[in-house]
C-alpha cells in the first residue's frame, strides 16, 4: 500500500512556460490526482521564494515526495534537491517534469501543451512514490591532474594548477608544446609577437617542478572515475637519451636528410630527419623521424650519433608505456585547419600562388622559411597585389555551417602585415560579414580601413588563372559578386591567401570515446552547459578547454584553460566529493551467474566471481549508464533511481489518458 504525500509545483518560468501551458489548470488538476497532497503554481520556482514554498510545505504538510514541473533537470535538479535537503527530506525524493524544453518550447498549441504537461506531471507523481532514499557516495580526489594537449589552452591550465601547488601531467602528441600559437607570427588585434608572449610560458611549463611534461606522447587508455582515473600513456621513442642531450642542435645540422615540414612549417619549409619543430621548442630535445631517417630506412648513416658530443642518440630506444593516476582530466587538444583542397575552385594545390593562412603565418614569421619576406612561390618576387579570402570552409553549408570565429580577424591581420612589409602592394579582403566582436577588434578593423585595404563584400566564386583581359595575363583572377555594388567583379592579383576555418581534430570522435565525453555534429567536444558550465563535460572529472570545444581565439582559449584549472583546483581543495548514488548493483541472491553482463560495461565495472558463481559491480567504477540493467535477463541488476517499479509507474503515468479511455471503453463494453 502506497502511502506517500506528494507536493506538486508547477513553474511559470515567467512566460516561458505559462505563455503556452495553462499552468493554473495543470496545478489545479494535479491537486486532484492520487497521492497528491498539495499542488501549486508559481512564477519562478527556482527563486528563493519558490524554493521556500517547497520547504514550508514539507514542514507544514509532512510531504514525502516533491514534484517540480519546470525546466530540464540539467538546469535545476540540484536547486530543488537542495530545497528538499533543507527541509530534511532525502533529495532523491524529488522528481522533475520538464514542461519547458519538452513542452512549451516544443509547440505553440496551448491545448496540446497543457495536456502533455499533465501527462508529464502524472508520470512524475506516479514515479516519485516509488523513489527510494539514496545517500551520496564519498570519493577522494587524487590531487594530480592530467592535461592533454599542450597548446595555449593546455599550457594555461597546466600552469594555473602547478602555480597553485598541484601536480600536473601534461601530455602532448607532438615533439614540442606550443600548439598552433607557436606557428603564428603576430597576434591580433594588438599585433604582439606570438612567440614573444608564448615562449616564456612554454619555458615555465618545461621548468615547473609541479609539471611532468610528456611530449611526443599519447594517452592510450583511461579507466576509473572522478577522483581516481588510471591513465596509460605511450611515450614514443625519440631515439635519444633525454638525460644526456643538451639540445645543442649539432645533430640537426649534420643530418643529411631534408623533409618537407607538413606540420610546423605547414608545408612551406623543410626540416631534417632528426629535428626540433622550431628552435624554441620545449622540451629542447629533437626526435628522429623513423619514416625518413636513412638509418631506419637503409640500416646505415648514424651521422647524428657520430657527431653528438654527449652520445645521447640511441637507435634502439623503444616506446615507453607508463601508468599514472590522476583525479581530474583537462582536454585541450585544439583544432585542425580546414583543408583548402576540399574547395577545388579556389585552386589550392593547383595554382602555385594560392596559399593557406597557416602557410602565410609561417611566411611572415621572421624565423620562418622565407625569413619573414612576403614572396610568391618562387621565393623571390614580392606580390604587388594580394587577395585574402575570408570564410574558407566556414559559414558554408557544403563544408562547415559555423563561423570559425578567428578568420576575419587574422585576415585583417594579414592585410596589415602585407601593408607593413610590402608597402606598395594592394590588398583585397573578400568577406561575407566582418566579425570583429572581441575587445579592441572593431578598432583594428577601422585601422585597416584607414590603411587602405579594399574590403569587397561577397563570397568568392572562383580563383582562376584563365585570363580574359590583357591586364589579367599571368595573374590569379579572383571572381566574386560584390554585393555592395551589386556587380560581378574580377580582380587580378599576384597572391591569394585562403583564410581557412578551424575544424574539430580529425580524431576527436575517437578521443571523445576514450575519455567518455560527447562530440557535437561538427566533432567539437560538448560542454555540460553552453552558458553556465562551458568547461565541464557530462562526465564528472573531465573538463575541456580551448579550441577543442569550438572555434575560438587565443584570449578565449587562455580563459578556458584557466577556468578548467580553477574548477579542478576547487575539487582538489575539497579533497572529497560526493558522487551521485545513481549506480547499478547486482542482487547476489537473484544472480545466476549467466555472465551476459560481463563484457557489456563500458567502464569495466563488472566482475564475475567463479567461486560464488555471481557477478559483481564495482560501485566506484559504475557510471550508472544502465546498460547492464537492461541486459540482465533475470532482473538481478538494479539501477538505483531507475528501478523497474519507477519506470513502469512513470510509463503508466504518462499514458494516463489512454488508460482512462481504455477503462471507459471496457465499462461500455460490459453488457448492462
Amino acid at each position: 500500500m502506497i502511502n506517500e504525500k506528494v507536493g506538486v509545483y508547477v513553474c511559470h518560468c515567467g512566460t516561458n512556460i505559462a505563455g503556452t501551458v495553462d499552468v493554473h489548470e495543470v496545478a489545479e488538476w494535479s491537486g486532484r490526482q492520487e497521492h497528491v497532497a498539495v499542488s501549486r503554481d508559481y512564477k519562478f520556482m527556482c527563486s528563493s521564494l519558490g524554493q521556500d514554498l517547497i520547504v514550508d510545505d514539507i514542514e507544514e504538510f509532512g510531504l514525502t515526495r516533491i514534484v517540480v514541473a519546470s525546466c530540464s533537470p540539467h538546469m535545476h535538479e540540484k536547486t530543488f534537491r537542495g530545497a528538499c535537503l533543507r527541509a530534511g527530506l532525502n533529495p532523491f525524493f524529488l522528481e522533475m517534469a520538464n514542461i519547458r524544453e519538452h513542452v512549451s518550447w516544443a509547440t505553440s498549441d496551448k491545448a496540446a501543451a497543457t495536456q502533455k504537461a499533465k501527462a508529464l506531471v502524472k508520470a512524475a507523481v506516479e514515479r516519485s512514490v516509488y523513489h527510494k532514499a539514496l545517500e551520496p557516495i564519498p570519493v577522494t580526489i587524487e590531487p594530480a591532474t592530467l592535461v592533454v594537449g599542450g597548446g595555449i589552452a593546455g599550457i594555461s591550465a597546466a600552469l594555473e594548477l602547478a602555480e597553485a601547488g598541484h601536480p600536473v601531467y601534461l601530455v602532448e602528441r607532438e615533439p614540442s608544446i606550443g600548439g598552433h600559437m607557436a606557428q603564428l607570427d603576430k597576434t591580433f588585434p594588438t599585433l604582439d609577437c606570438s612567440a614573444c608572449i608564448l615562449t616564456p610560458k612554454m619555458v615555465d611549463v618545461g621548468q615547473h617542478p609541479n609539471i611532468t611534461l610528456m611530449t611526443y606522447s599519447e594517452v592510450e587508455e583511461v579507466s576509473g572515475h572522478i577522483g581516481s582515473f588510471q591513465v596509460t600513456i605511450r611515450k614514443k621513442a625519440r631515439h635519444l637519451d633525454e638525460e644526456l642531450c643538451t639540445g645543442c642542435g649539432i645533430c640537426e645540422e649534420r643530418c643529411p636528410i631534408k623533409v618537407v615540414d607538413q606540420e610546423f612549417e605547414a608545408g612551406l619549409g623543410k626540416r631534417k630527419a632528426i629535428y626540433r619543430p622550431f628552435p624554441q621548442a620545449v622540451p629542447k630535445f629533437p626526435v628522429i623521424d623513423e619514416e625518413h631517417c636513412t638509418y631506419f630506412l637503409k640500416g646505415k648513416c648514424k651521422l647524428c650519433q657520430k657527431e653528438c658530443p654527449t652520445h645521447s642518440i640511441d637507435f634502439t630506444q623503444q616506446d615507453e608505456v607508463c601508468q599514472v593516476e590522476v583525479g581530474n582530466i583537462i582536454l585541450a587538444t585544439g583544432y585542425d585547419l580546414f583543408d583548402s583542397r576540399r574547395i577545388p575552385q579556389y585552386g589550392y594545390g593547383r595554382l602555385r600562388n594560392v596559399f593557406t593562412s597557416l602557410e602565410f603565418e609561417r611566411m611572415v614569421n621572421a624565423a620562418g622559411p622565407t625569413g619573414g619576406n612576403i614572396v610568391l612561390r618562387d621565393g623571390l618576387t614580392a606580390p604587388k597585389s594580394v587577395a585574402v579570402i575570408h570564410c574558407v570552409g566556414s559559414r558554408d553549408e557544403n563544408y562547415h555551417e559555423y563561423c570559425s570565429n578567428v578568420c576575419c580577424m587574422y585576415s585583417m591581420k594579414f592585410a596589415h602585415l602585407v601593408h607593413e612589409r610590402v608597402p606598395d602592394a594592394e590588398v583585397f579582403n573578400f568577406y561575407i560579414d566582418i566579425r570583429a566582436s572581441g575587445k579592441g577588434y572593431e578598432c583594428f578593423y577601422h585601422r585597416l580601413l584607414k590603411e587602405g585595404t579594399h574590403f569587397v563584400r561577397g563570397r568568392v566564386a572562383e580563383v582562376t588563372d584563365a585570363a580574359q583581359r590583357p591586364e589579367e595575363e599571368g595573374k590569379l583572377i579572383v571572381q566574386a559578386e560584390d554585393t555592395l555594388i551589386g556587380a560581378q567583379r574580377r580582380i587580378p592579383v599576384d597572391m591569394v591567401i585562403l583564410s581557412a576555418g578551424m575544424e574539430a581534430r580529425h580524431d576527436s570522435q575517437e578521443l571523445a570515446k576514450r575519455f567518455g565525453l560527447g562530440c557535437d555534429f561538427d566533432g567539437f567536444f560538448v560542454e555540460r552547459h553552453p552558458k553556465l558550465d562551458p568547461v565541464a563535460t557530462m562526465t564528472e572529472g573531465i573538463f575541456i578547454a580551448g579550441a577543442c570545444q569550438g572555434p575560438k581565439d587565443i584570449p578565449a582559449s587562455v580563459a578556458q584553460g584557466a577556468a578548467a584549472a580553477a574548477r579542478v583546483a576547487g575539487l582538489i581543495d575539497r579533497g572529497t566529493i560526493m558522487m551521485e548514488p545513481v549506480k547499478a548493483s547486482i542482487r547476489t541472491d537473484q544472480c545466476s551467474g549467466c555472465r551476459i553482463c560481463n563484457n557489456l560495461c563500458p567502464y569495466n565495472a563488472i566482475e564475475y566471481h567463479l567461486e560464488t558463481n555471481v557477478s559483481e559491480i564495482s560501485t566506484a567504477l559504475c557510471q550508472g549508464c544502465g546498460t547492464c540493467v537492461a541486459a540482465c535477463p533475470s532482473a538481478a541488476i538494479d539501477g538505483a533511481h531507475f528501478t523497474n517499479d519507477q519506470l513502469m509507474a512513470e510509463i503508466e503515468g504518462i499514458l494516463w489518458d489512454q488508460r482512462e479511455t481504455e477503462r471507459e471503453e471496457e465499462e461500455a463494453a460490459v453488457p448492462a
Binding site: E510, D589, Q590, S592, C594, R595, L600, S634, A635, A636
Partner: protein, 346 residues
C-alpha cells in the same frame, strides 16, 4: 471433537494439452497418498464429474483447485469463475494458466485468422462452404449453443484472482509432490501456507544457477538452431550460439533441457521483477552479439553485420515469447475489429 473431513481437491483443464494432468499422475505411487489425503471433487481427466456438480457445491467447498489451461473461450472463463467461487485456494497450474503458453501465441494474429487457418487454409481440410462453428444453431431438437471463441487468449489471473502459481510446461512431478506435501501439512496439521501470490515449485534464480554447463563471457557471431549444430559437451549453449532461455527463466526443473544439449525454452517463466520475459531475453541476446569492434566499422557496415547475425534467429516471437505471450507487455497484435485478414474467410 468434530469429525475431521478430508480436504477437497479439484483439478480442471481449460485450454490446454493435458500434459499438466499427466504430470500430476507422474508423481508415481504418491498419487495413492493424494487419494488418501484428499477427497477428489472434480477432475474431468480421471473421474466423471460434471460442471453441474461443482455448481451445486457450496461456495468455498473445494479446498484446493489446480487450474490448468488458458482462457481461450467463454466456457473456460465461466468454469474459471465458478471454480474460483467454490475454491478456498486457487492455483494457476502450469504455463497456460500462468502466462498463456502456446495457446497465447495466437494473440499475435486475430480470431478470424485463427479460424481461417483451422477451418479453411489447411491442406487436409475440405470445407468448400466455409462452414464455421456458430455460437448458436437451430436443430430439430432445439437451440444448440457453443462457447464464444475469444479474440485473445487470457491467463487465469486476468480473469479471476489467483492465490498461487505453479510454473512449468508441465510442472515437474517432484515439484508438484513437494507442493502437495506442503498443502497437505497445512490442511491436516495446520502448518502455515506459503504467502499469498507466491510462485510455488520453482526457485528464485535463473536456470543457469542449476545448469552444469561452463559459462564464459558472451560473444556470439551467429546463432544456431538445434539441428544446425552438435553442441560441444560441457559448454554453455548460449556461448555456442544456441538460443537458450535459461538466463531469463526461473529455475526449478534442474535444467533438464540444457543438460541434454537442448536450449531452455523458458517454460518456467520469468524471474521475480521481470515484466516481460521475451523482451528481457531479447535485450540480453542483443547484448551478446559480437560483430567485432564497432570502432572499426562505419555505421552502415555495423548495421549490416548486426542484421546478418539477427537473421540467424528465426521466429523471435515464437522463440522468446513461446510461453509468456499472454502475460507480456506486448500482449499480442492489435485487434482490427472487422479487418479481413490474410487467408480470407469471415
Amino acid at each position: 471433537m468434530e469429525h475431521k473431513e478430508k480436504p477437497k481437491l479439484a483439478m480442471y483443464w481449460a485450454s490446454s494439452c493435458g500434459g499438466c494432468e499427466i504430470s500430476v499422475l507422474n508423481i508415481g505411487e504418491h498419487i495413492l497418498t493424494v487419494d488418501q489425503v484428499f477427497d477428489l471433487v472434480f477432475f474431468p481427466c480421471i473421474a466423471d464429474f460434471k460442471v453441474s456438480d461443482v455448481a451445486n457445491y457450496p461456495d468455498g467447498y473445494i479446498d484446493l483447485c489446480l487450474f490448468n489451461g488458458a482462457i481461450r473461450n467463454s466456457e473456460n472463463e465461466e468454469t474459471a469463475r465458478l471454480l474460483r467461487q467454490k475454491s478456498k485456494v486457487m492455483v494457476a497450474f502450469g504455463s497456460c494458466a500462468y502466462e498463456g503458453c502456446i495457446p497465447a501465441l495466437s494473440n499475435l494474429t486475430s480470431k478470424q485468422a485463427t479460424l481461417a487457418t483451422v477451418y479453411d487454409d489447411n491442406p487436409s481440410l475440405d470445407n468448400p462452404e466455409h462452414i464455421r462453428p456458430l455460437e448458436e444453431a437451430e436443430v430439430p431438437e432445439g437451440m444448440l449453443d457453443l462457447p464464444e471463441f475469444y479474440d485473445r487468449v487470457k491467463t487465469l489471473d486476468q480473469v479471476v484472482p489467483v492465490d498461487y502459481t505453479i510454473p512449468g510446461c508441465p510442472p515437474e512431478p517432484e515439484q508438484i509432490w513437494a507442493i502437495l506435501q506442503v498443502v497437505v501439512a497445512a490442511f491436516t496439521e495446520g502448518a502455515p501456507l506459503p504467502p499469498p501470490g507466491a510462485i510455488l515449485g520453482a526457485g528464485d534464480r535463473a536456470l543457469c544457477d542449476e545448469c552444469p554447463l561452463a559459462r564464459e563471457e558472451k560473444a556470439v557471431s551467429r546463432f544456431y538452431r538445434p539441428f544446425e549444430i552438435d553442441p560441444e559437451p560441457g559448454k554453455c549453449l548460449l556461448d555456442q550460439g544456441i538460443v537458450c532461455m535459461g538466463p531469463a527463466t526461473r529455475n526449478g526443473c534442474k535444467a533438464l533441457c540444457p543438460r541434454v544439449g537442448m536450449g531452455c525454452r523458458g517454460c518456467y517463466g520469468p524471474m521475480e521483477g521481470v515484466e516481460d520475459q521475451g523482451a528481457k531475453m531479447l535485450s540480453a541476446i542483443a547484448s551478446t552479439i559480437d560483430v567485432g569492434d564497432p570502432a572499426d566499422l562505419d555505421e552502415e557496415e555495423l548495421e549490416r553485420k548486426i542484421e546478418e547475425v539477427v537473421a540467424t534467429l528465426p521466429d523471435p516471437a515464437g522463440t522468446f515469447y513461446r510461453f509468456s505471450m499472454g502475460h507480456s507487455l506486448l500482449r499480442g497484435a492489435r485487434p482490427e475489429p472487422e479487418a479481413v485478414t490474410e487467408g480470407g474467410g469471415s
